[in-house]
Each structure stands twice: as structure tokens, then as C-alpha cells.
């Protein structure tokens, strides 16, 4: 199957470490001693970028940034030394807004997935391990929630309940729970039938101990890699909501998310593209990094068997 010449060409062309060749051999021959694929340099680039964005989001308040809400006289000004990314229609500094926007987008993304993991993950492990009636009931519940046009429900609830950040986080978290439940249940199912779990049961370990000490460490890589991709999905979702005016209400002085910024800048797409270009680039790079990290970790820990 594998074509060494093409493989060599590929590695040289992309400048990847030669470890890729070893992976190719593994895949092609499928022989017993499988080595873990190396993470590769791009993994570390992505990780650094995510770390940078997270750092910026956490410390936006103490970094020497302009006030993201401060309106200056330079409206729709292009990128300059004073305003690296230019200014928006109200003369606010876009660089500062992108950094502060990261805070909002990240809180929504990680917060919602955190809630989803807490609810869906716990139930998923229980259902996948206990099986039987618990499993059937929770499983049916997840199907009902998944069949529901979740976005419409989210829009409806947000318009009823309010546009505060924590409410968006909570709602998106609840609606991400059934999907996370399915992933974690599937992972637990395949793990719970393995010999070391049976051995632990035979030794008389309690269910709680088995779930915490045997099952959890084994499904953790799958959960982490899927969660990273989940965070990216939630950030996109929040952006979509922002376009419909169903996300954080920026008129009340709240800091906009990246999605809000993209929506606000949309009217100036032709005349003053920097209003949208910079938040779009920030979002693109961050989503790319998250997806890549998630995917690479999944490969690294060989959890390809876990599917939706």
C-alpha cells in the first residue's frame, strides 16, 4: 500500500519530522508493535497559540490594552501604530476588543462544555457501566433531546430568559450534554467489557472505585480530545446565535464575543474590512488549533474506536 517515495516526498514537502514514515509503515503493515504517532511540530504551534489566547483572555484586564469600550474620534480607522487592528464604527480599538472578545468566546466555549461534561459525562459513565434500565432511560432521554432542533430551543430560551453571558453558557451546556453523553457512554461501554474491569469486579471493587480508578483513566483521553473539538463547536454556535441577535446583548455595554464582532462588522465588509477580518482570523486560528489539538490527541492515544 504505502509508497515510500511519495511518503518521503510528503514529509519533505511539509517539513514534518521523519517520524511520519514510521507511522506510515505501521498503518501499511499493521504489525503488532504499534508505536504511538508523534505529536509533530504543528501540535506544539497549536498548543502555544491556544495557550496564548487563554493567557490573553485571562489577563486582558491587566495587559496594557486600551479600554475595549472606549469610543475615540477615529471611526472606522484602518490599522495603524496606535490601533494595530484599526478601529470600529464607534472608534473603539479592535485589537483590544479581539482580546477581550476571546475572553467571552472562551468562557462560553469551555464553560458550556464543562457543564455538558458534568451532566452528560456523569450520566454517560453510569449508563455505559451499569447498562440495563438506567441505560435505556437515559439513552432514550438523550435521543429526545438530540431530535429536538436544539438551536431553535436555544434561541427561544435566550429571548425569554435574557442575554447574559452565564445564561448562554448554561443553556449551551445543557444542550451539549446529550452529545457528550453519547460519546462518553460509547467509550465506557467498550471499556467496561474489558478484562481488567472484570478482574476488578472479581476482586470485589465497588462500582464507584471501578468507575474512578479503572474506567475513567481509560476514557479520559477520548473525552479530552472530543471536548476540545466540542469547545470549538460551541464557539461557532455562539457565533451563529450572535448573528441572529440571540447571544450576548452588546447594546447593554457587555463585551462582545468574536461572533458579535463579526456580526457588527458585517455592514462594513466592503468599505472597512478590518472590522471583520481580524476577529475572523482570530476565530479561524483558534478553532483550527483546537480542532487540531483534539484530533492529534485522539490519534496519539489511539481512541479512534470511539465514535458518535
Amino acid at each position: 500500500m504505502s509508497d515510500p517515495a511519495a511518503a518521503a516526498l510528503g514529509t519533505h514537502a511539509t517539513g514534518a519530522p521523519p517520524a511520519v514514515l514510521a507511522v506510515t509503515d505501521d498503518v501499511a503493515t499493521g504489525d503488532g508493535a504499534r508505536r504511538r504517532p508523534k505529536l509533530g511540530w504543528f501540535f506544539w504551534v497549536c498548543l502555544s497559540f491556544v495557550a496564548l489566547v487563554v493567557f490573553g483572555a485571562i489577563f486582558a484586564g491587566v495587559l496594557p490594552l486600551q479600554d475595549p469600550g472606549l469610543q475615540t474620534a477615529t471611526q472606522n480607522g484602518g490599522p495603524s501604530a496606535a490601533h494595530w487592528f484599526g478601529t470600529d464604527d464607534l472608534g473603539r480599538d479592535i485589537f483590544s476588543r479581539v482580546v477581550y472578545g476571546a475572553r467571552v468566546s472562551l468562557v462560553v466555549g469551555f464553560g458550556a462544555i464543562g457543564i455538558g461534561l458534568l451532566v452528560g459525562g456523569t450520566l454517560g459513565m453510569l449508563a455505559g457501566y451499569r447498562r440495563g434500565r438506567t441505560d435505556s432511560i437515559v439513552n432514550a432521554g438523550s435521543y429526545v433531546l438530540l431530535a429536538f432542533p436544539a438551536l431553535i430551543a436555544v434561541i427561544a430560551i435566550v429571548s425569554f430568559w435574557g442575554h447574559q453571558e452565564w445564561k448562554i453558557v448554561l443553556i449551551l451546556g445543557i444542550f451539549s450534554a446529550p452529545l457528550l453523553f453519547r460519546v462518553i457512554r460509547a467509550a465506557t461501554l467498550s471499556c467496561a467489557s474489558r478484562d481488567f474491569v472484570t478482574a476488578a469486579q472479581a476482586l470485589g471493587a465497588t462500582d464507584r472505585r471501578i468507575l474512578a480508578k479503572e474506567v475513567f483513566p481509560n476514557i479520559a483521553p477520548a473525552v479530552i480530545s472530543f471536548s476540545l473539538i466540542g469547545v470549538a463547536t460551541i464557539i461557532v454556535l455562539e457565533g451563529s446565535l450572535a448573528f441572529l441577535g440571540a447571544s450576548i446583548d452588546t447594546n447593554s455595554g457587555q463585551i462582545p464575543s468574536w461572533g458579535n464582532m463579526l456580526n457588527e462588522g458585517r455592514t462594513f465588509l466592503q468599505s472597512d474590512p478590518w472590522l471583520t477580518v481580524f476577529p475572523a482570523i482570530a476565530m479561524f486560528c483558534f478553532l483550527l488549533a483546537l480542532n487540531f489539538l483534539g484530533d492529534r490527541l485522539r490519534q496519539h492515544y489511539d481512541v479512534g474506536g470511539v465514535k458518535l
Binding site: 500500500m1 511519495a6 498503518v27 429536538f148 432542533p149 438551536l151 456580526n263 476565530m283
Partner: protein, 315 residues
């Protein structure tokens, strides 16, 4: 097999019932008051009471639910407060838009993703695989609300190849204009789907290619092409099928951001408008129909699973 199908059918009915509950009670959480939508904010209490009575809104919520459900079972989904069209006719107008959008975009997505994935899996980790996989990663990070305005800017504002937002006409009225207006929205959706299908199928094929029966097929001297398309693709197509089911399910109403940005009057668009106008009869009717469609779709896909892989029914 019959037992399996029967079991799934019971589950289907139960889920539909629960969804109808969800649709009804969720929508009654909506902030607006339909009488205000109908009469305007200046209406006096007496007139509001009359309208409330006409619509049956003065009855207890549970009773309202069963009245609505009874009507739905008889095929009457109610009438919009704002457009005064029946919900069924609004659905009838909106659904063909989505159907067309889904059919075109999915055909494009499969036509691109399958050959790409097969080629990439055959030569895993070669230059081709790396560029294709890298490309899909990039597309994965481009949300529809970035791609759609970008495509409009390039292809309709600057190049004038395709009409801009809001140029949709029904297929039966003017097929050429219709298809022309469908290109950009279908392209945005197809791009999103290609990524999903490609990544899934590529990874799945690589795993399948390590199985013993592939080694056996190879030992028998079958050609690479035959092994890929006849032996490897069939087991891998199960997960593709599952992904396609989930994806199409979410597209039925989930294409709303594309529809909204490109002013395409599909289900997602109509739903968003109905939510914004507190037109709750339309919202609950559409949510129910969409949820049923998704459930039925999943049912069909489960059934197809059983056909592709008969072992499933034995569980």
C-alpha cells in the same frame, strides 16, 4: 429482523410524543404574548380577553396541549398569528427549499468527500493525504457565517457569477433562476459536510485496511482499487451512514444561519422569524414536524445499518 424493527418503532412513537411535549411547553415559555402580536400593544384588556378566548389561551395549559395534540393528529397544525397562513402551508412552502438545499449539497459533498477519502486512505500520510487532511482542517475552522458572506462578496458582488441574497424563486416557477440562486448556499453547506465525511471516512478506511480480511484479499491478488471500493468501503460506510444521518438531521433546521444570511426562505429561516415574532403556533408546529423528521430519519438509518451489518439486530 421484524422484532428489531418493531422495537425501534415503539421507541420512535415514544420519542415523538416526548418531543411534542417539549415543543409545546418550550414554546409557551416564549416571552411574548400572542394577543399583543395580533392586536398591537395598545389593545385594551377586554379585547385581549376576547382574543384569548378565541384562541383558547384562557384554558389551562395542559388542556391547551391536548387540544393542540388532537388537532395535530388530525393533520391541523394551526394558523400563523402574523401571516394568517396555515402552518401546514408555511411548511409546504419552506420544506422544498431545504429538501433541494440538502439534496444538492449532500450530492456534492459525497461526490467530493468519498473519492478524496479513498485516495487519502490508500496513501495515508503521503503528500496528498496531508494536503487533503490539512485542507479539511482549515475548512473545519471556517464557520458558515464567515464563509457565506465571503462567497457572496467574491462570487456575487465582485464577479457577478451568482445572484446575491434574496433571489430565491421556487423550482417549479423558474428552474434556472432557482438553481442559480441555490449554488452559493448549497456550496456553503457542502463545504461543511465534505469536512465531516472526508475525515470520518479516511480514518475509518485506514482502520479497516489493517483488518485481516483485507490482508487476505490482498493475498488473493485482488487489485488495490477493487479492495478499496468493494472490500474496505462497505464496513467503513456504516459510520459514514451514521454521520450522514446526524448531519442531514441537523441540516433540516440547522441550515438556518446560511438561510438567514442568504435570505433563503427555508425551515430554519422561517423558524427564526417565527421565534422573533412570538408566533408560537408556527414555532411549535414546525419544531414538532422537524423533530419527527429527524427521528424518522434516524430510524431509517438504523434500519439501513441492520441491512448493511446484520449482526446489529442480534444484540
Amino acid at each position: 429482523m421484524a422484532r428489531y424493527v418493531a422495537k425501534r418503532l415503539v421507541a420512535l412513537v415514544a420519542i415523538v410524543f416526548l418531543v411534542s411535549l417539549g415543543a409545546f411547553f418550550l414554546v409557551h415559555l416564549l416571552p411574548g404574548d400572542p394577543t399583543v402580536t395580533i392586536l398591537g400593544p395598545a389593545a385594551n384588556a377586554q379585547n385581549r380577553a376576547i382574543v384569548d378566548h378565541q384562541l383558547g389561551l384562557d384554558k389551562p395549559l395542559v388542556e391547551q396541549y391536548f387540544i393542540w395534540l388532537g388537532n395535530v393528529v388530525r393533520g391541523n397544525l394551526g394558523q400563523s398569528f402574523t401571516t394568517h397562513q396555515t402552518v401546514s402551508s408555511e411548511l409546504g412552502n419552506a420544506f422544498p427549499v431545504d429538501l433541494e438545499l440538502i439534496v444538492i449539497s449532500q450530492l456534492v459533498a459525497f461526490a467530493v468527500a468519498i473519492p478524496l477519502a479513498v485516495r487519502a486512505a490508500r496513501r495515508a500520510n503521503t503528500a496528498f493525504d496531508r494536503y487533503a487532511t490539512g485542507g479539511t482542517f482549515a475548512m473545519l475552522a471556517l464557520p458558515a457565517f464567515i464563509v457565506a458572506p465571503l462567497l457572496v462578496l467574491v462570487f456575487s458582488v465582485h464577479l457577478h457569477w451568482f445572484p446575491g441574497p434574496g433571489s430565491y424563486v421556487p423550482l417549479t416557477q423558474d428552474p434556472w433562476t432557482n438553481l442559480h440562486a441555490m449554488v452559493l448556499p448549497a456550496l456553503v453547506i457542502a463545504l461543511g459536510s465534505i469536512v465531516i465525511y472526508y475525515r470520518l471516512l479516511r480514518n475509518d478506511l485506514i482502520t479497516t485496511l489493517q483488518e485481516d480480511f483485507i490482508t487476505l484479499a490482498r493475498a488473493k491478488g485482488l487489485s488495490d482499487r477493487r479492495i478499496m471500493w468493494r472490500h474496505a468501503l462497505r464496513p467503513s460506510s456504516i459510520s459514514l451512514l451514521a454521520a450522514a444521518g446526524i448531519n442531514i438531521g441537523t441540516l433540516i433546521a440547522g441550515a438556518f444561519i446560511v438561510e438567514y444570511l442568504l435570505a433563503l426562505p427555508g425551515l430554519g429561516y422561517q423558524l427564526v422569524v417565527a421565534v422573533q415574532q412570538d408566533d408560537y403556533i408556527v414555532v411549535q408546529g414546525m419544531v414538532l414536524v422537524i423533530a419527527v423528521a429527524i427521528v424518522v430519519l434516524n430510524f431509517i438509518i438504523d434500519f439501513l445499518f441492520a441491512v448493511v451489518d446484520p449482526r446489529i439486530t442480534r444484540e
